[in-house]
Symmetry: C2
């Protein structure tokens, strides 16, 4: 097993490097003050420091269940398993099905690819289209797939958001098959205009829906969850327990305190949506100015701009960029094309976005 | 994979049940106030909420390394990998060696047995003696073992502490073999009189030493670590990363703030040692009073009293105890004898210890 390209890069850049590589939130938008207040309350109760339940902190499980139910997707606490980030959520599921065949999008999330390798899964990829996944190719692939792993909301790395029609088609197809859906949705709340319904909603008995607080609150909390029907969820608890007993009660309680007032999260999310849209538009404007040969579609949410740099091998080109103090992730790392790039637009300040893109422009001039 | 007996029991008892089952610390001894103060400082820095490094928070790794070095076991940050509790530490190692043969103590830690099953390991057990592990039997077992898993300090469940001589014998034996030692040491700081040196110290190139803050600070933090030489440690980082990216930066920083003043932890540990010894002596006195047919040796540290209840099948007997509002873990769950019991003596108040043991006495009277 090899380490992830992004995490290795992140650990080897110096403080002057501008990184468009990781899927990092904008640190200036963390609700630091509010979380600090919540933490004070958490430490007023000694039980916050004791061992917790393997399925997670009950009030938080209830809260997440209500969140689904309010949106129209009936869910109870028995459908929610708290995990140490959504990375662990995916690993728990894949460990349970280890050695199975899995159909995934091409390109797909790097951290997921490592989990599939770690669990000896046979990977079959299906190309993404502008509207979601290619239904005809998916139909062929799932014939011998136990699992299908999709990121329908502002997909990582492509930022594609499946259309309503595409979601219905996927649900219909999977419903008549023997494959189980793993729907990963870390970016679903980060929409700029409209939100789509999860595919799992239409596939209640055949789906795992994975959620996370990393992109909407703080990745450092390491709290995510799996939503599934009881029959699918129950066998996973023994895995979760063997893997790390339970997720930190402290971080779970901090989140619960934060969520107690229904308005707090909604206001924060609205702020994130507005700010991230602004940043995306700014990044896009600067891209068009400094890298006019980069072709892409503006995303409708999420954290990434994905596209292709005409005739450039973006893996080789990265070395030059690294020398000039700027990094990104080449598309090939996700199973994409040799000339593709994923840019994160959320993490850097506006000044650094411009500075970083200027450095890429300079690297390009030095290359050609 | 089945869930752990203890964790299932803990989730199904009601608030009136007195539990001697889990390895839970005394909640009244948590340094709640100090940890609360540390947490305030952590939230003053926005980077506490961002993604962290897979190997762990560097200042904490340095601190743990110094801790070893000061005791005479030279260690640098490159020898330390932070994990989400020591449960994950063991899982990471076993996942790397999945499918291997492993020699373990009989009886052994329940949570470890689940990890070995999860990683398809072939388990060979070696009986414990009063002084540690049976060297002759160990010699036979390790001939075809890739790994040897030991808990030399106040072993779980037996509370046996390996003698200095036994440690030297184990080290000599393993040094001349092809087996790698996994030394699990969650209780090593909880000694009542003297501390023994880790076996890993004598086996630097062939050992993983696993540590944890769960028993000495708070289990809810979910922070543990692996100490190993670089060659053994490096391949594990990709596993850690695939499993949950990294351990919560918030909880790591809370611990780092707590450790900054060298005196704080030492004072806290001294307090734990005194209080836990008092509790052990109290538990022992009450045992002798209410259950005179229970035979055991007083432990010299740790959290458990382990022994045998004459002619009683302690698994069957547990049902009766459960009805009477008291639980423990039958030895058979750890691979021990049918009539053995593990009692945790740290978690309950003195009143509840007496109350619980009276309930067992009552159950015994109703049985015979």
């Amino acid at each position: 097993l090899k380490r992830s390209f992004i995490r290795e890069i992140l650990e080897h850049t110096n403080s002057n490097t501008i990184s468009f590589a990781g899927g990092l939130p904008d640190p200036s938008l963390f609700p630091t003050k509010e979380l600090k207040e919540c933490t004070k309350k958490v430490f007023e109760d000694t039980s916050s420091l004791q061992y917790g339940n393997s399925m997670g902190y009950l009030p938080l499980r209830n809260h997440i269940a209500q969140f689904y139910t309010k949106k129209g997707f009936p869910t109870s606490k028995d459908n929610i398993l708290i995990t140490t980030g959504s990375q662990q959520a995916l690993d728990i599921i894949c460990r349970y099905y280890s050695g199975s065949t899995i159909t995934i999008e091409r390109p797909s999330y790097l951290g997921a690819l490592n989990i599939f390798k770690l669990n000896n899964m046979l990977i079959q990829t299906v190309k993404l289209t502008k509207n979601g996944i290619d239904i005809n190719l998916l139909k062929k692939s799932i014939k011998n797939s136990k699992l299908t792993y999709l990121i329908p909301d502002f997909q990582n790395p492509s930022s594609i958001c499946y259309t309503k029609f595409n979601r219905l088609e996927v649900a219909k197809l999977l419903d008549s098959s023997n494959t189980i859906l793993i729907e990963d949705s870390p970016y679903s709340q980060l929409y700029f205009e409209t939100q789509q319904k999860p595919i799992s909603w239409l596939l209640e008995d055949k789906s795992y829906h994975i959620g996370s607080f990393s992109k909407i609150l703080s990745p450092s909390l390491r709290v995510g969850w799996i939503r599934a029907n009881k029959k699918l969820l129950e066998p996973l608890v023994a895995y979760k327990e063997a893997m790390d007993l339970h997720t930190s009660v402290i971080t779970q309680k901090i989140i619960y305190e934060y969520l107690k007032d229904a308005q707090t999260l909604e206001l924060h999310l609205n702020k994130l949506r507005v700010k991230y849209k602004e940043k995306m538009l700014y990044f896009s404007k600067e891209l068009d100015c400094y890298l006019p040969s980069f072709s892409y579609e503006k995303p409708k949410g999420g954290m990434f701009i994905y596209g292709a740099l005409e005739n450039i091998d973006t893996s080789k080109f990265l070395q030059k960029c690294l020398q000039n103090g700027v990094v990104y992730v080449p598309g090939i790392e996700f199973g994409g094309e040799y000339n593709e790039i994923r840019f994160n637009f959320t993490n850097n300040s506006l000044q650094d976005i411009t500075k970083g893109l200027k450095r890429i422009k300079k690297s390009l001039e030095e290359t050609i």
